[in-house]
């Protein structure tokens, strides 16, 4: 009963932090708007730069989608701690009786929420521009572990670089190599769900992403706690 209550409280605090970030995002539009604009422009630029034919469209669209999400999310991760730093609100979080890991995972949850919203707008844009067909259910199965991986590693590296003077440079240097397995998995599995009839073919890539999500989750929660304690 005690365990149930404490697990329940753990998730309650995660949602309290995510809810606060959502409220702040509605007011400030610090993250979703710039990330969407950036990702949208990348998609449009690729649309003009690459001559997609019926034979090549399945090869290039997965790359365009995940490259635009990757670079767009980087713009967002540079801004996720802005509101926390403004009036020392982050220190307020640190003095409250919740674990540092709860703060980290709460921020991960809110960043995941933002990325889901952006992809939910971006995918229909891709479908219209490149005239492709995608099963929504398959796309959700591929996108959730991919976006979770981006959110976990992006939040950790955003926290590491938030007090650095050159954070705009540091974040990509740390973030890009770390998410290579996620990008590889997401591009391959998106290609497979576009070309193969079933999700089964892309399952090994989805499992790979889930394994990396678990690793990022543990390393992220421990790493975040260590960074904050120092």
């Amino acid at each position: 009963m005690t365990l149930y209550r404490s697990v329940g409280m753990y998730f309650y605090h995660l949602f309290v932090i995510a809810r606060k970030d959502f409220l702040l995002e509605i007011r400030s539009k610090d993250v979703i708007l710039p990330v969407f604009m950036f990702s949208f422009l990348v998609v449009v630029t690729f649309n003009f730069a690459l001559e997609a034919t019926p034979n090549t469209v399945n090869l290039i669209v997965p790359g365009i989608l995940w490259v635009s999400m990757l670079f767009g999310s980087m713009v967002g991760f540079n801004r996720v701690f802005l509101s926390e730093l403004e009036l020392g609100a982050f220190q307020g979080l640190l003095t409250s009786p919740i674990g540092r890991d709860v703060i980290f995972l709460g921020k991960v949850l809110s960043n995941l929420m933002f990325l889901v919203v952006i992809e939910a707008i971006l995918v229909p844009v891709l479908i219209i521009l490149f005239n492709i067909t995608l099963s929504p259910l398959d796309m959700i199965c591929v996108s959730l572990p991919a976006l979770l991986g981006l959110s976990l590693s992006g939040t950790l590296f955003a926290a590491i670089s938030m007090n650095m003077r050159a954070k705009e440079v540091m974040l990509p240097i740390l973030f890009l190599p770390a998410v290579v397995p996620i990008i590889l998995g997401s591009v391959e599995s998106t290609y497979l769900i576009m070309t193969e009839a079933s999700l089964h073919e892309s399952l090994k890539w989805i499992i790979l992403m889930i394994i990396f999500d678990v690793v990022y989750c543990v390393v992220g929660a421990v790493g975040f706690t260590m960074i904050i304690e120092d």
Partner: protein
């Protein structure tokens, strides 16, 4: 008297600069301690260590008998820190900020607690104002309301008089008097010779990282 806060053999250095050096401090229930010291003497660092914002190099902090490093959650639930920064979100309203803090402390009956504390601190008519639209003095009041929300046993104030006008200082003194009557303890730092409280206090001075009695 029961000791609510015990600091033993505390040490903290920034690079080669030892800011806190084998510092001892004890704070009893219903007691107010005021620490004075020059800029850079370690006043804020001491409060930051007690509130677990900064980790010490060595030594021990015990809050209501709980070791801060072993039971940080219990310790943090028993204290509140009003620092130079208000620890608030500028894009949220006073109510939203206080509700957020109350949820982090797992409080029940949040609405009535928020109304009670904002009324105590003269913020009832500003509940739905965004923090970004408030003056420095009102932001400080919100920070104090946020600190009082979960009824902490220990209140830490870092130079609370800065930025407050005469009316706010008077209100602040009333709040301190009220909180001390509830068997709470207050640890306050200042470098002002005049403090916004006229009752019985224990005056200390921090020099070379150590606390000594300050006869004023």
């Amino acid at each position: 008297m029961n000791s609510l806060l015990e600091v033993e053999n505390l040490t903290k250095s920034y690079g080669r600069n030892r800011v806190i050096d084998n510092l001892y401090l004890s704070l009893s229930s219903g007691e107010i301690v005021i620490i004075r010291g020059a800029n850079g003497s370690g006043k804020t660092t001491l409060l930051s260590i007690i509130s677990s914002l900064v980790s010490s190099d060595s030594g021990r902090v015990k809050i209501l008998g709980n070791d801060l490093k072993l039971n940080p959650h219990i310790c943090r639930s028993e204290l509140a820190f009003v620092a130079h920064q208000p620890f608030l979100y500028s894009q949220l309203t006073v109510r939203e900020n206080l509700e957020f803090s109350a949820r982090l402390h797992s409080l029940k009956d949040i609405n009535s607690k928020v109304l009670n504390k904002t009324s105590l601190i003269g913020l009832s008519d500003r509940l739905d104002s965004k923090i970004a639209t408030l003056s420095h003095g009102f932001i400080k009041r919100v920070a104090i309301a946020r600190a009082l929300l979960h009824d902490p046993k220990i209140l830490l104030f870092d130079e609370p008089e800065s930025g407050l006008d005469r009316e706010s200082l008077q209100l602040f003194e009333e709040i301190i008097t009220g909180e001390l009557a509830k068997e709470r303890s207050i640890l306050m730092t200042t470098h002002s010779p005049q403090i916004p409280y006229q009752g019985d206090v224990r005056n200390l001075r921090i020099t070379k990282g150590m606390l000594v009695d300050d006869p004023l």
